[in-house]
């Protein structure tokens, strides 16, 4: 089973993208940083007790599924859209959503467009090898307008094309648009158009067939989300886990009550370690892609359900 493999290896093999600002990129000290990376670290902390015991494998849009299917990686955390065919036909198991996204457009203010529907005849830069190009084709077909697609292999390249004016608009997931815009010299010269033309629930995934491993991956993600809901942060977790609190849900989560860890085949403190690795979901978000970072994403759909967002962890019970 994957869990045993990982334990025996003493290392979690996690597939990430080759570089997407805020989500995964190596820093000058060769340490991978980012939102997706943080999930991998939490999982490693839960399973192996050390958030640094992760081997990151870089995957491209084309190679990621093969890497997972062949067992080259244990889990893929590479802003991958959860779709029917990927789940069913490609035989993967999405273990949840860590970012609710949607495809949008960014255009220079000077172009004077206010809506994507005004883009008849425009040149559109897209990143290939994703669902993006299918969504785009569908959108323009549905609105009966024409466009000229310019397929680009990487985000960095696409950004450069867009800035130079080689395309009128650039389309990718809204998170990516925001991240990209953040790095422009004059971010305020560009607008993100209001249309979100697709649903892009991004989440980590594992192979079909190993449900125990799927459970661990799923509930690690849920633990991060639940922790935020219950107010468990990396600052107060030591205190909360030292003794049972009067919130039984927190107690079960942090292993001071019940046997949830053992049911997963882990020890009682698994979730505590996962949360301590990089903080709860909210902390991870703020640190990597939140409004204080250059990426500057607001929580939006990714707020807790209690605050009008879609994040909703099933109960720990």
């Amino acid at each position: 089973a994957t869990l045993d493999d990982v334990k025996a290896r003493g290392e979690l093999k996690c597939g990430v993208s080759t570089g997407l600002a805020g989500f995964s990129a190596p820093d000058a000290n060769n340490v991978w940083q980012g939102f997706d990376v943080a999930y991998c670290r939490a999982l490693a902390a839960a399973v192996l007790g050390d958030p640094m015991k992760v081997a990151f494998t870089q995957t491209t849009g084309q190679t990621r599924f093969t890497a997972l299917a062949s067992g080259e990686i244990d889990v893929l955390a590479r802003n991958t859209t959860w779709t029917f065919s990927r789940d069913v036909d490609l035989k993967f198991e999405f273990i949840g959503v860590n970012y609710y996204d949607g495809q949008g457009f960014i255009a220079p203010k000077s172009l004077g467009v206010a809506s994507a529907k005004e883009l008849d005849g425009a040149t559109v830069c897209i990143q290939t090898g994703t669902t993006t190009e299918l969504n785009l084709a569908d959108f323009f077909r549905a609105n009966n307008i024409s466009y000229e697609p310019v397929p680009i292999e990487t985000n960095a390249e696409a950004q450069q094309q867009y800035l130079a004016g080689a395309c009128d608009v650039y389309t990718t997931d809204a998170s990516g648009l925001a991240a990209t815009r953040a790095t422009f010299e004059n971010p305020s010269d560009h607008v993100i158009l209001p249309e979100i033309i697709s649903k892009e629930p991004l989440g980590p995934l594992v192979r079909h067939g190993d449900n125990e491993w799927g459970d661990i991956a799923r509930w690690t993600l849920n633990a991060l989300i639940a922790a935020e809901e219950y107010g468990v942060t990396s600052a107060n977790i030591a205190e909360l886990s030292s003794a049972p609190t009067n919130n039984p849900e927190i107690n079960r989560l942090l292993g001071t009550e019940g046997e949830l860890g053992a049911m997963l085949g882990l020890d009682a403190e698994w979730a505590k370690r996962a949360i301590m690795a990089g903080g709860n979901y909210g902390e991870i978000f703020e640190k990597n892609i939140g409004e204080a970072t250059p990426i500057g994403l607001s929580r939006g759909l990714n707020a807790q359900w209690t605050e009008g967002g879609l994040l909703y962890s099933p109960p720990f019970r």
């Binding site: 090898g129 000229e148 390249e157």
Partner: protein
């Protein structure tokens, strides 16, 4: 040879399988055969098992499913409702297009650089050396990316052409060089052979137009993709706009709109070929005259006329005019749009391969010993004649075989189109299609087969050439 004196039949001994030259090679081959067979069947059975484990099968049905994605550059009609097979075909044609263009330009560049490198002008020969070494010693991928970036960074965007002080178009407002590519005029015909019925907004029209386009590859070439409406997303009527603007024009009224169709281009091609044959005949006639009288009549003006005059007649007959690109909504409309991805890939491939060809050309010329030139001079031949009759025929024998293998490399290297988003066969069939359908095995197999067949064809041509020009030796 009836009396074969084999050693008196001692019967067959097993050791003969190894020690008897007659059986030994047989034994080895059988063993090799068995080993290869085992290896293959092992691979195949693994594949079958793995496919089974993944719940996949091996079939090419996906080729007839709708592709769902758009391709910006199409030599034949395509929209996202067409099949993956069709998309693959579009990709194949794009690969061939850039390969052919690349080979042509690379040859020109290579020959020029090769000759210049031999020049006794120090600056020129140094400069070409820098070009050759620079391109040979840096990965092609880097050059493709660099040239692509250079083009997008240094050329004006279409919107810069707006307003008074914006950039201006070249050649009488007919050519626009932008960072999205180059827009050049398209030739359209007011008395087109096949195009007029396009103006009729009947539902059959698209089918007819599509049929004509399919039949004529030349037409496609004129349409590296028409400007503006690169991708028609309407399900029905709009795809009939074969000539770029024709669809819009049709809406304006019943008058005949200049357009172009495959038949026009076929006719022009035919006239060109005929002209070429005529020119060739003139050349042969000149040779005959020279043989009998010793004097060679001037033929070049005649030959040029033989090609040009019929061409002009036909163009006038068809009512040819230029459809110049002009600023539309976001882009230039009309004309032919040579996309940046194509140009960058084309330039990079040509410059890179050209550097290798330059070395081949230089080597070929150097391989012809100085004695040949001297002998020709001593006979009183002029330098020009010497080049044509003595040096080139010999140098070509040395040059052409490696030249063709460079063409082969260029064709294979065109798969690096991925770096600039040029939609070649690897990006369509081997890229998006595989990614959308999960048919890696089938897709890669087809892709490999395509390249293999292509390269076998090219090397077949090379072998033919080699055997036809081989020098006779003792």
């Amino acid at each position: 040879m009836a009396t074969i004196s084999d050693p008196p039949e001692r019967g067959f001994r097993l050791s003969q399988l190894i020690f008897d030259t007659r059986y030994r090679s047989m034994t080895i081959q059988v063993v090799a055969m068995v080993l290869i067979g085992l290896l293959l069947s092992w691979l195949i059975s693994n594949t079958i098992h793995n496919l089974e484990a993944l719940g996949k099968d091996f079939n090419f049905g996906f080729l007839s499913q709708p592709a769902g994605y758009d391709i910006n550059q199409q030599l034949i009609d395509y929209n996202n409702q067409m099949t993956h097979g069709r998309a693959a075909l579009v990709g194949i044609l794009n690969t061939l297009l850039v390969a052919v263009l690349g080979c042509a330009l690379a040859t020109v560049l290579g020959v020029i650089a090769g000759v210049l490198r031999l020049s006794n002008n120090w600056v020129v020969s140094r400069l070409t050396a820098v070009y050759v070494e620079g391109f040979r010693n840096v990965p092609l991928l880097l050059w493709i990316v660099l040239i692509f970036a250079l083009m997008t960074e240094s050329m004006p965007a279409p919107r810069d052409f707006r307003g008074e002080d914006g950039s201006s178009m070249l050649l009488g407002e007919s050519v626009a060089i932008t960072n999205r590519g180059v827009y050049i005029p398209n030739v359209v015909f007011s008395r087109s052979l096949g195009g007029n019925d396009v103006a009729a907004p009947e539902p059959e029209a698209p089918a007819a137009a599509a049929a004509t386009t399919n039949m004529a590859g030349t037409y496609g070439a004129s349409r590296i993709a028409t400007g503006g409406a690169g991708v028609q997303t309407g399900q029905s009527g709009t795809s009939a706009a074969a000539g770029g603007e024709a669809g819009d024009g049709a809406a304006e009224g019943g008058e005949v709109i200049p357009t172009s169709s495959g038949w026009d281009w076929l006719l022009i091609l035919a006239v060109l070929i005929a002209g070429g044959v005529g020119a060739k005949l003139l050349g042969t006639r000149a040779a005959h005259i020279q043989e009998s009288t010793g004097k060679r009549p001037m033929t070049l003006p005649l030959q040029i006329a033989a090609v040009l005059v019929p061409l002009i007649v036909v163009l006038v007959g068809l009512g040819a005019s230029l459809d110049k690109p002009h600023l539309g909504g976001f882009n230039f409309d009309g004309g032919v749009h040579l996309r940046n991805s194509l140009i960058a890939l084309w330039l990079a491939l040509s410059l890179y391969t050209g550097a290798f060809i330059a070395e081949i050309v230089r080597g070929g010329i150097l391989a012809i010993s100085k004695g040949q030139t001297e002998a020709a001079y001593a006979l009183g031949l002029r330098p020009g004649t010497t080049m044509n009759l003595v040096i080139l025929p010999q140098a070509l024998r040395v040059i052409i075989p490696p030249l063709i293998s460079q063409f082969l490399n260029l064709t294979k290297n065109s798969s690096l189109a991925i770096a600039v988003g040029y939609m070649d066969v690897r990006s369509t069939l081997g890229g998006i299609t595989i990614n959308q359908t999960g048919r890696e095995l089938e897709g890669m197999l087809l892709l490999g087969l395509f390249y293999l067949v292509l390269s076998l064809l090219i090397s077949g041509v090379m072998n033919l050439y080699n055997s036809s020009v081989k020098l006779k030796e003792r």
